[in-house]
């Protein structure tokens, strides 16, 4: 085989089309924000040249968690709330794999909340997409922890009683936090750029994606969708690029240095206007898999040597 052929073959192997990442036909409802997230993910995989066999999408349970089925990569559709520890096990055993996690506001912030807090602290290199539509969808409209107070649902017919939990402020409050961003499904271009920045960050990249659920809370984000001035675009040389076209629509912009965690916490506290962009990034936080020396191969001789060394401590030799 000539060098040119090899080169072409290599090119074909390393370069993928969008179709190479498309799995089953999505079964989400019409107008569901999950579709936008899926499209952004497939584009990201292509543009970043991720090998499908080296990529794993891990999810829990809920509408969000169907996403792996629609990718043509490896996928692990787990159980409710446990996507993060499953993803951590995958990453610790195989640091060579690209790991993405798709989780919802119920999956991550309710049943899996303990894992969420600790996943931030472990800071393993993975990209976590919080599909936050403020409602339980798959179980048919119950209030979620991020439902705004007063949300009418099947379990809160007169409106929910508690203030919504803020996934951004919680995440920014945990030790070892290294990447926090917010995106919205109705600005696909910025969603894609934010996800790309998240993927490129080495560490636990947490992206909260505000996502519409037309079936159960159709009007939840309408005021923001229809009033670009109620969106706050975070801009900075170290942040994400806001294209000239977008800048014309979303004129409400705020320069924000992603290295500034205190300012990030202030910005995160606002839900109107909705901040969009990278709130915080710290590439210096060590990753748990690096601290633990993950991915080292252990040979049979090493096992034999280690076992013999241990047994020596407990052996009674014949006199």
């Amino acid at each position: 085989m000539s060098a040119a052929t090899l080169c072409l073959q290599h090119f074909a192997e390393e370069n993928h089309a969008l179709e190479d990442y498309q799995g089953g036909v999505p079964r989400w409802c019409k107008g569901c924000g999950d579709n936008a997230i899926l499209a952004a993910m497939q584009r990201l995989c292509r543009d970043e040249g991720l090998r499908p066999e080296k990529t794993v999408f891990v999810s829990g349970i809920g509408c969000s968690s169907r996403l792996p089925h629609y990718m043509r990569t490896y996928g692990f559709h787990g159980i409710h709330g446990r996507a993060l520890p499953i993803a951590e096990g995958i990453k610790l055993a195989r640091p060579d794999l690209h790991v993405f996690v798709n989780t919802g506001d119920g999956d991550c912030c309710n049943i899996g909340a303990a894992h969420w807090i600790h996943a931030i602290r472990y800071n393993m290199n993975m990209t976590v997409l919080l599909h936050d539509n403020h409602i339980y969808g798959l179980t048919k409209k119950q209030a979620s922890p991020t439902s705004p107070i007063g949300t009418r649902s099947n379990t809160t017919p007169r409106g929910s009683y508690l203030d919504a939990l803020s996934p951004l402020t919680v995440t920014l409050g945990v030790q070892n936090v290294s990447f926090v961003a917010q995106a919205v499904d109705w600005i696909p271009e910025s969603l894609f750029h934010i996800l790309t920045a998240a993927y490129r960050h080495r560490g636990f990249s947490f992206v909260r994606i505000l996502q519409r659920c037309p079936e159960f809370v159709g009007n939840m984000f309408e005021p923001w969708v229809h009033d670009p001035q109620r969106m706050l675009m975070l801009t900075h040389a170290d942040g994400i690029r806001v294209s000239p076209a977008l800048q014309k629509i979303y004129r409400n912009q705020l320069p924000h240095d992603p290295a500034d965690i205190n300012r990030a916490r202030e910005i995160a506290s606002s839900d109107d206007p909705i901040p969009v962009g990278i709130l915080y990034r710290n590439p210096e936080v060590p990753c748990y898999e690096d601290l633990r020396g993950a991915g080292k191969l252990r040979t049979a001789d090493q096992v034999r040597g280690a076992l013999d060394a241990e047994l020596d401590k407990f052996t009674v030799w014949p006199q």
Binding site: P85, A93, L97, R292, R298, L311, V316, P318
Partner: protein, 641 residues
């Protein structure tokens, strides 16, 4: 069995050197049980384990059991605070902790009382009691001491008051840190053990410290030996048969951890829980040197999910827990069953339900691990019966998990976890390890769940393999791993997962029968009761009774040939450490009697009228208790012919 001849107790033994050596009564013993107890932190455990190691080195059969208080620092001098060791030594192999103790050594009278009240001491046994409390400044303490001493003497115990504190103070500034080696010296004298072995043992346990520490402990050891030589009027010899092969002396949890290492598994995800944690402690230490990772997760559920994630990527991982943790893991285990991800789970059982008795012995989780997790979730369940089994079970479990893409649960228990018994040193074999993780492209046309029509087995795809991309799911799925609600496909999946157990059962061999294959009475056991059952059966067979036993190491699937074994006997009973209703209770009859786990399983599978005897007293079942129960049943059977 080994009654000590009644010699007058030397009520207030004199100090070393102040009297001439006493006349010794030397007795040769077949076996003996020694208990050493102190407040937490006084070193009785180290003393007991060292004594066990010296005896093992001598060639004696040994079984040591930890006596553990439930609290880390129980109040000093408290009845519930006994911390220490029970050591059973014998002239032959010892397979369990034995019956009531023959000698008790206590650093104060209150911890001793705890053991007396629990019925752990043989009536009239020898008590070697620290006497520093007799003249304690606090009159209340002195009074408690005198009262207990007098009570024990009145009840017939042979109480020897030992001036441990005074003797040790002559050698070290803080006798609290030295009494244990003084006692070790005493015991070496009493059991005629070679002091050179004892000195070696001290050099071994204090090996990391400086020479001064070793020499001062050797001085304490020798002082203890000399004191016993000068002041005690008895001495024993337990004949030993020198081992011809190297033996290792470890407890069940250490054996589990070493088994994990030997099996090639290199990720263990766990959450701290008694009595399982010491396995992970030891494994953490080993893995830091040998490579491998013990991940202490944020909770039991995460530990299970983490292990599942790690296993999914190629190499089988293990999670180690105890009952309450196992309950929490069950949803995750169902996922591993459904998605056919291999996984090894160790459940070191403790008393249940709920928090139950964390440090105590029970066999209460068998049905939970077999049938637990909702829906039909077939898993392999194994139960080691000896310390050696704990080691090899892990190697077998890893291999079975990987071969069958199944969850394999290894059911140990609190009695195996902390008991030590010598067994032949394992010789590593590369066959214990899995082949390297396959990263070759998946051939065209092969599906992620290509269930074999006979065995139910399918090839596992591992991330990184080109052409194998699919999403596995805990939802019902077809051969392509696509979510499927089709009734046919659902049944196909259920059948395939079930067939894997049948396939495994076909390659298992029948359990061995201890004794003849026919007779009046068969005892069936599982797990950590093996030694006690076999000792009782051996004793009864020695007396001419037609009794045998069999011990099951596979509970799911059950080994072939069990039905034939059961049918060779007039009566079959299980002996188990879990709850069973007493048929003599006024409300209990055959329509509501709750049988223990194994009896229920045997009755349902083999349609044999299996009876049972169980105990949930939080301690290992004693061979003498089993003996008495079986003898009663045999008497009834033998007269009802």
């Amino acid at each position: 069995m080994n009654a000590v001849s009644p010699l007058p107790a030397r009520a207030h033994a004199a100090r070393k050197g102040s009297v001439a050596p006493v006349a010794k009564h030397l007795q040769t013993l077949d076996q003996h049980v020694i208990e050493i107890m102190s407040d937490s932190g006084e070193g009785a455990q180290k003393c007991g384990q060292s004594f066990g190691s010296i005896a093992a080195r001598t060639g004696n059969g040994v079984w040591t059991v930890e006596i553990i208080p439930a609290e880390i620092q129980p109040p000093a001098r408290s009845v519930a605070g006994a911390s220490g060791n029970r050591i059973r030594i014998g002239s032959h192999q010892i397979t369990n902790g034995g019956d009531e103790a023959d000698i008790a050594v206590a650093f104060n009278e209150q911890v001793l009382l705890g053991r007396v009240n629990a019925g752990e001491l043989k009536p009239g046994c020898i008590v070697l009691l620290e006497n520093m409390w007799a003249e304690h400044d606090d009159a209340k303490i002195a009074g408690q001491y005198a009262e207990t001493r007098d009570r024990l003497v009145a009840e017939g115990y042979r109480v020897y008051e030992v001036p441990m504190e005074t003797e040790c103070r002559a050698l070290v500034p803080d006798p609290r840190k030295g009494k244990n080696m003084f006692v070790l010296g005493m015991l070496c004298n009493i059991y005629s053990l070679d002091m050179n072995l004892a000195r070696d043992q001290i050099a071994f346990i204090f090996g990391k410290k400086d020479a001064k520490v070793i020499s001062s402990n050797v001085a304490l050891l020798e002082a203890g030996w000399q004191w016993a030589e000068s002041n005690l009027d008895f001495k024993y010899r337990v004949p030993a048969v020198k081992a011809t092969v190297p033996q290792v002396v470890i407890n069940g949890n250490t054996a589990v951890a070493l088994g994990v290492l030997a099996s090639g598994m290199d990720i263990c995800a766990m959450y701290p829980i008694t009595p399982a944690t010491s396995a992970s402690h030891y494994l953490s230490d080993v893995f830091e040197r040998a490579g491998g990772i013990v991940h202490q997760a944020e909770d039991e559920i995460a530990a299970c999910a983490f292990a599942i994630g790690a296993s999914y990527t190629g190499k089988v991982a293990v999670t180690i827990t105890s009952g309450p943790g196992y309950s929490l893991k069950q949803e995750g285990l169902g996922l591993a069953v459904m998605a056919e991800i291999p996984l090894v789970v160790v459940n070191v059982q403790r008393g249940g339900p709920s928090t139950g008795q964390p440090t105590k012995v029970e066999q209460g989780d068998l049905l939970t691990v077999m049938f637990g997790s909702h829906g039909d979730a077939p898993k392999v369940v194994m139960a080691p019966g000896t310390i050696e089994d704990c080691f090899y079970s892990m190697i077998t479990a890893r291999r079975l998990a990987e071969t069958f893409n199944m969850v394999v649960v290894v059911l140990s228990d609190a009695s195996l976890a902390t008991a030590q018994q010598p067994f032949p040193r394992p010789q590593f074999s590369t066959e214990w390890l899995a082949p390297p993780v396959d990263q070759n492209p998946v051939p065209d046309g092969v599906k992620p769940y290509d269930w074999d029509p006979v065995t139910g087995l399918s090839r596992r795809f591992v991330p990184g393999q080109p052409n194998g991309m699919h999403t596995l799911t805990g939802l019902a799925h077809d051969r392509n791993s696509r979510v499927a609600y089709d009734p046919e496909i659902n049944e196909q999946g259920m059948r395939a997962r079930s067939m894997k157990l049948a396939t495994l059962q076909k390659i298992l061999t029948p359990p061995p029968v201890f004794g003849d294959r026919e007779g009046e009475l068969l005892v069936v056991g599982w797990g950590g009761t093996k030694g006690a059952i076999e000792e009782a059966v051996a004793r009864l067979r020695g007396e001419g009774h037609r009794v045998s036993s069999t011990h099951l190491t596979f509970l799911q699937p059950m080994q072939p040939g069990i039905g034939e074994i059961l049918r060779g006997f007039r009566q079959v009973i299980t002996v188990e450490g879990n709850w069973a209703d007493d048929p003599n209770d006024p409300l209990i009859d055959e329509s509501n009697r709750r049988y223990p786990a194994l009896a229920m399983l045997l009755r349902s599978r083999y349609l044999v009228d299996v009876d049972c005897w169980t105990e949930v007293r939080g301690r290992p079942i004693k061979p003498g208790t089993v003996y008495a129960e079986l003898r009663g049943r045999l008497a009834h059977l033998e007269t009802s012919r």
